[in-house]
Amino acid sequence: MPDTDPTQRSATISVLVENEAGVLARVIGLFSGRGYNIDSLTVAPVERDPDSTHSKSRITVVTSGTAMVIEQIKAQLDRLVPVYRVSDLSAEGPHLSRELALIKVIGTGTARQEALRLADAFRARVIDASTESFIFELTGATDKLDAFLDLMRPLGLAEVSRTGVAAIARGTRTI
């Protein structure tokens, strides 16, 4: 039973849906229509049925709210017709969250050297380089990406593209 505890928590919710037109709009519309937050959203097809007429997509939403609100979000998502399963990974045991970022840093001289050195320390890969720029590819938890971006900011951070969070439960548990 949830209580009326007002403390907010972050929740990583995975939703397995029928891969059909409009399904993402249904999910997003539900969040905006009911005033829930979306901190991050990721979606891609993950399963194709043997008959190949249907496939499933997995949506990962990072949201925040009180325990009561998060329970509501789950129930509201579950009630959408094309939704198969809803799982609050952050409440149902240990899980892993990863995000990928492509980061463009423009600069020359010592700033450029420092950027490359830090990238190495963070295990970011250089996937493109010119005499005045690098593009780094970095994978990790959201806070690791945030930390790296903070370091790049004074070194010529020019552009970022992030995927949003993909998450999965640890061990044998599946959605």
Partner: protein, 603 residues
């Protein structure tokens, strides 16, 4: 599986495939309005006789009519509208059905698939617009999906928590040949609502209920949606337990109003006894209601001392606004059946002594007679609106015909809910959740189509009725003898009441200026117009209205300044209820006390 190897029937047009699917779903009537994009469907309708089409005068009315049809029969109501404005006009009706959980399938036309997204003539993004207005919607882009989608739409509309489903049908899909298939016997891939309750939760509920000292049953529209069997089971359960029972606005008729264990409606304009019993209860059993803000009043003061059991078919209703102790997911009839069995099987004996004391307390509250009013009887006296409803109710009781009541929205709706008594489910059609003015006349139309021999009355206000007055034309065309009983106080009464209580009697834009002559208006639409201006006219007008076998508008001129009492002001708790001027000198009586600032922001 023997059918799977057979080639499906190829229908010569998508429109024919749609009609065949509708017939397979048991559809006998459609409420609609034609237009360019749905011409193929209208052509197919023309060439058959199994499905009747009722031509409304506005698409909003088509949906309300289908709601009235659905609510009074338990079947799915079907609507057919064209693309663009046809679909956008239907939106209010769809949201109304969504809020009140009414099963509707709305077929909307769409521009041909190759024009979608081109800003074509009468194009609107109908699935986009109606996504939050429906339980689910579909855009059919392939002829091979057509029949399956129609069948699925009916399944989604009628099962689980019922609701409106829209199918957007591009014109080329309606014209091109399409395969037909019968409804699938396989369960839906992702949509599987739970109907059978968890026995452990039933036992937990019974454990609380058996030991309760001040119990209350709070039943809602979910009982009506679960079918007449659920109402019978509710009566059986309440009789078995000896508990008091109240219902929501949507639940009126789910429990017989004439039964002594019925406390009347609860909530903002509910009875004193129902609200105080909710406030003072130690165990509350909510069956198919959703703790609506019109019921709970101020949330942190709502039934503060009770253990709450909430039975609902929709898991998202649980803990949405009120945190409960035991949640039971399932169909109301299945839950009641399980509760009755478990109550009987449980060996703990119910202690009837505290229950008897509880009833003494309730009877004291009841003795306040919180809905009483004074009707001056001298000839020439102005009619009190409550009295008009009371007389209407008395007059209908003597009828051999079944009586069905619809309402518009406002003061008259509340007076109807308070003073008209319903002993059976499916006899009361009102817009509860959305509060749609203009609902009552088209809804009555739908009810009369479903029950041609019944007495169908739309209890209306003079402002609301004008919102869909064009449907008088539909009544005339199909000879639907709907009676429109207007409580005419020349104000948007509920707006006026709130302005009086909350806004210093500044009656901003709430006066019904330049009203039509309703008698002549009825006559111009081939109906009968009647008027009661004084108390001595009332019974005669009611009798004549009922006797006439044609559409009637009865214009009942009532006291302009009457307010709906009792009332829980916005932001107040159940035990802070205002009683009417009748109770001026009693504790809790109307003091003219204004609403708190906190309450002012609430609607």
């Amino acid at each position: 599986m023997d059918g799977s190897i057979m080639a499906p029937d190829i229908m010569k047009s998508g429109a024919e495939a749609v009609l065949r699917a509708l017939k397979a779903q048991g559809v006998d009537v459609i409420f609609g309005y034609p237009g360019g994009a749905v011409l193929p469907l209208y052509d197919a309708l023309f060439q058959q006789n199994a499905i009747r089409h009722i031509l409304v005068r506005h698409e909003q009315a088509a949906v309300h009519a289908a709601e009235g049809y659905a609510r009074s029969t338990g079947k799915v109501g079907v609507v057919l509208v064209t693309s663009g404005p046809g679909a956008t006009n239907a939106v209010t009706g769809l949201v109304d059905a969504l809020m009140d959980s009414i099963p509707i399938v709305c077929l909307s036309g769409q521009v041909p698939t190759h024009l979608i997204g081109n800003d074509a003539f009468q194009e609107a993004d109908t699935t986009g617009i109606t996504r939050p207005a429906t339980k689910h919607n579909y855009l059919v882009k392939k002829s091979s999906d057509l029949a399956r989608v129609v069948h699925e739409a009916f399944q989604v509309a009628r099962t689980g928590r019922p609701g409106p489903v829209l199918i957007d049908l591009p014109k080329d899909i309606l014209i091109n040949p399409a395969p037909y298939c019968d409804p699938s016997t396989e369960p839906h891939r992702s949509y599987r609502p739970r109907t059978e309750p968890d026995p452990a939760r039933i036992d937990a509920a019974i454990a609380l209920l058996k030991r309760s000292e001040r119990p209350i049953v709070y039943a809602g529209g979910g009982i009506i949606n679960a079918g007449p069997e659920a109402s019978k089971l509710l009566l059986e359960f309440v009789r078995l337990t000896g508990f008091p029972c109240t219902t929501t606005l949507m639940g009126l008729g789910a429990y017989p109003a004439s039964d002594p264990q019925f406390l009347g409606m609860l909530g903002m304009h509910g009875t004193f006894e129902a609200n105080l019993a909710m406030h003072g209860a130690d165990v509350m059993l909510n069956l198919g209601a959703r703790f609506d803000d019109r019921v709970t009043g101020r949330l942190n003061a709502f039934s503060p001392g009770s253990k709450k059991i909430h039975a609902d078919i929709d898991p998202s209703s649980i803990n949405k606004s009120v945190v409960v102790d035991v949640a039971i997911i399932g169909d109301a009839a299945a839950i009641l059946r399980a509760l009755i069995t478990a109550w009987r099987a449980d060996e703990v004996r119910q202690n009837r002594e505290p229950l008897a004391k509880w009833w003494q307390q309730i009877d004291f509250w009841r003795s306040k007679n919180s809905m009483r009013f004074t009707q001056p009887r001298d000839p020439g006296s102005i009619i009190k609106p409550q009295y008009a409803i009371e007389r209407l109710y008395k007059a209908t009781r003597g009828q051999a015909k079944e009586t069905y009541i619809t309402t518009e929205v406002g003061q008259h709706q509340m007076w109807a809910a308070q003073h008209f008594k319903f002993d059976k489910p499916n006899r009361w059609m009102t817009s509860g959740g959305l509060g749609t003015m203009g609902y009552g006349l088209p809804a009555a139309m739908g009810v009369q189509v479903a029950h041609p021999d019944a007495l169908v009355i739309d209890i209306a206000g003079e402002a609301s009725i004008l919102m869909n007055i064009q449907e008088m034309g539909t009544l005339a065309q199909y000879r639907l003898p709907v009676k429109i009983f207007i409580l005419n106080n020349r104000y948007m009464g509920m707006v006026r009441q709130w302005q009086e209580l909350l806004h210093g009697s500044r009656y901003s834009e709430s006066y019904s200026e330049a009203l039509p002559d309703f008698v002549k208006l009825a006559e111009s639409f081939h109906g009968v117009g009647l008027r009661a201006e004084k108390i001595e006219d009332l019974d005669r007008v009611i009798a004549e209205m009922i006797a006439v076998d044609r559409p009637v508008i009865a214009d009942i001129c009532v006291d302009q300044l009457e307010n709906v009492f009792p009332m829980i002001p916005s932001g107040a708790a159940h035990n802070e209820m205002l009683l009417g001027p009748e109770h001026k000198n009693e504790e809790g009586g109307y003091t003219g006390k204004s609403v708190t600032d906190e309450g002012l922001v609430l609607v």
